[in-house]
């Protein structure tokens, strides 16, 4: 009886926390008109899914990154009306903002039918700005080149007048979205347009977690950062520059052996579970021994003396008074993919 009442109470609390995205979308619609006028572009702006509800805390944090993405689409994506006509497109550029629910996630897509992002142009700019060296650039594939636009200090605007002029780039957007345990996906085709997809958890209060085991220790992985789970045989794991990878649908997925990172005694297994996680546009496969199940957890911060422990975001109690640590997926991705981050400092 008490439990049922508490269930209702909890649901009630969650409901109060949920607000429709429309609040932010309406604000953006007004901004689009102003930005388009300032940039000398003609824009058809469409909105769908304003009734999709999200945690108030997330909605409040979304306004800035969305505004930035849309500003980018108008400033850098959509061509000038004359240019569009020359290219056989209609004068008015399309920018569409759409949201829909997908399980415990909300997917927000910002799509334009503008010029698209040219990986070669990205390469030139990145080298010009000193973000990477020419020889580093030559080693990168098209997708990795596109990822460079998320580095601090990157902007492909060709002239100053075209600049958003706010001194912030997509790196800020990436940081904001990652902070909300969100994932960014970029899809672009030269001449056809660009789509940025943000996948966000519906709420931050109670998180659904995947409980995994490594070397007989349990850890919780927030399910909102898990993209998929693979079963991988030892002989499918290959190395690139001595770093372990697997091929997943034609793409190279870097691996992280949690037991090695945490310096735990490794179990001699021939089959492993790989939990594919994402932070913003980066992907990483975490190699584990076994999956123990899924559970709703209330994650508590480690706080105080343990604030500086790397790779752990908090702890939770699975109901048997045993503390289970919650992996900080974002920090692990950043740590393991550090060589790519080093690119920023060069």
């Amino acid at each position: 009886m008490l439990e049922r009442k508490l269930d209702e109470l909890q649901k009630g609390i969650l409901d109060v926390r949920m607000v429709p995205l429309g609040q932010v979308f309406d604000k953006l619609a007004r901004l689009v008109r102003r930005i388009a006028r300032e940039a000398g572009k003609e824009i058809d702006f469409s909105i769908a899914g304003g009734d999709v509800e999200l945690d108030k805390l997330i909605v409040e944090e979304l306004s800035d990154p969305l505004m930035h993405i849309i500003r980018n689409a108008i400033d850098h994506g959509i061509e000038r009306p004359e240019r569009r006509e020359e290219g056989g497109k209609v004068r008015r550029g399309k920018v569409a903002l759409r949201a829909h629910t997908q399980g415990a996630h909300v997917v927000i897509e910002i799509r334009d039918d503008g010029a698209g992002i040219d990986p070669e142009r990205v390469k030139e700019v990145a080298v010009e700005r000193g973000l990477i060296t020419a020889s580093q650039a030559d080693e990168l594939g098209a997708r990795e080149l596109l990822n460079l636009i998320f580095l601090p200090g990157f902007s492909t605007a060709r002239s100053v007048s075209e600049l958003s002029g706010r001194g912030v780039g997509l790196d800020v957007v990436k940081t904001n979205i990652a902070h909300l345990s969100g994932i960014i996906d970029l899809e672009t085709e030269v001449g056809q347009g660009t789509a940025l997809t943000l996948t966000l958890p519906v709420t931050l209060a109670i998180i659904r977690a995947l409980v995994v085991s490594v070397s007989d220790r349990l850890y919780a992985v927030p399910l909102n950062s898990v993209l998929e789970i693979l079963s991988v045989r030892d002989d499918e794991i290959r190395t690139v520059e001595r770093r372990e990878v697997v091929t997943l649908r034609g793409r190279t997925l870097p691996l992280l052996r949690l037991a090695r990172l945490f310096d735990l005694p490794e179990k001699p297994l021939t089959r492993h579970f790989v939990v594919v996680v994402g932070l913003a546009q980066q992907r990483l496969g975490i190699v584990l021994d076994d999956l123990a199940g899924q559970q709703d957890i209330v994650a508590k911060p480690l706080g105080g003396r343990l604030r500086n422990v790397r790779g752990i975001s908090g702890a939770t109690d699975l109901g048997n008074r045993r503390t289970v640590l919650v992996l900080d997926v974002g920090a692990l991705v950043e740590e393991v993919l550090a060589p790519e981050r080093r690119v920023e400092v060069l």
Partner: protein, 187 residues
């Protein structure tokens, strides 16, 4: 709803957490002289290996039996692990290496059997500026009252070095109590 069950769970009394009553050490032995009206201070005496240490009782939150600990990867060696103290995540420290004593077995590791530590061992949950923490001790001996004027400073060469872990040495008859600076031991 597991989340709420966990919250409620924290309120239940658990006999296994009860560390038992404390007895006072040599309480009645001290002859009260009229000349010394100095108020004695209370310390909790405990054993680390074969040595006897003590900390001010005022710093103690509680004493609990050693529960199942969770290992924290890549944490300093002095951190034995974390425990769940009625819903609170509490770090558990082994201060023995600070005091040049042999370390406590890493009992948070699944490879280390629970029998590796003595049944008498306890955790002292202490208040501290950097965040409350639990300290592993081999045995709790009891409360001892010491007059501040009878506390000797730590002899040179003992407890010195980079940190002043030892604030002084208290005596009662033959017994020797090494008084610890909790804050320094946890730093």
């Amino acid at each position: 709803v597991p989340g709420l069950n966990e919250l409620l769970d924290a309120f239940f009394y658990r006999p296994d957490e009860d560390a038992g009553p404390l007895f006072e050490l040599a309480e009645a032995v001290e002859p009260v002289s009229a000349a010394q009206e100095e108020q004695p201070e209370e310390f909790l005496a405990f054993a680390l290996t074969s040595e006897t240490y003590a900390v001010p009782v005022a710093l103690l939150r509680e004493i609990v039996k050693v529960p199942t600990l969770t290992e924290v990867p890549r944490a300093p060696a002095s951190l034995l692990g974390v425990m769940d103290l009625r819903g609170e995540v509490m770090p558990v420290y082994d201060i023995k290496t600070r005091l040049r004593l042999p370390p406590t077995p890493r009992l948070a590791r699944p490879e280390v059997p629970a029998s590796a530590v003595a049944k008498a061992s306890r955790l002292l949950v202490v208040r501290s500026e950097g965040g409350d923490a639990a300290i592993f001790v081999d045995q709790v001996l009891g409360v001892v009252r010491l007059r501040p004027s009878t506390i000797e400073p730590a002899p040179p060469g003992i407890g010195g070095g980079e940190h002043e872990y030892i604030t002084g040495i208290g005596r009662r008859g033959e017994a020797l109590y090494i008084l610890l600076d909790v804050e320094q031991c946890l730093t």
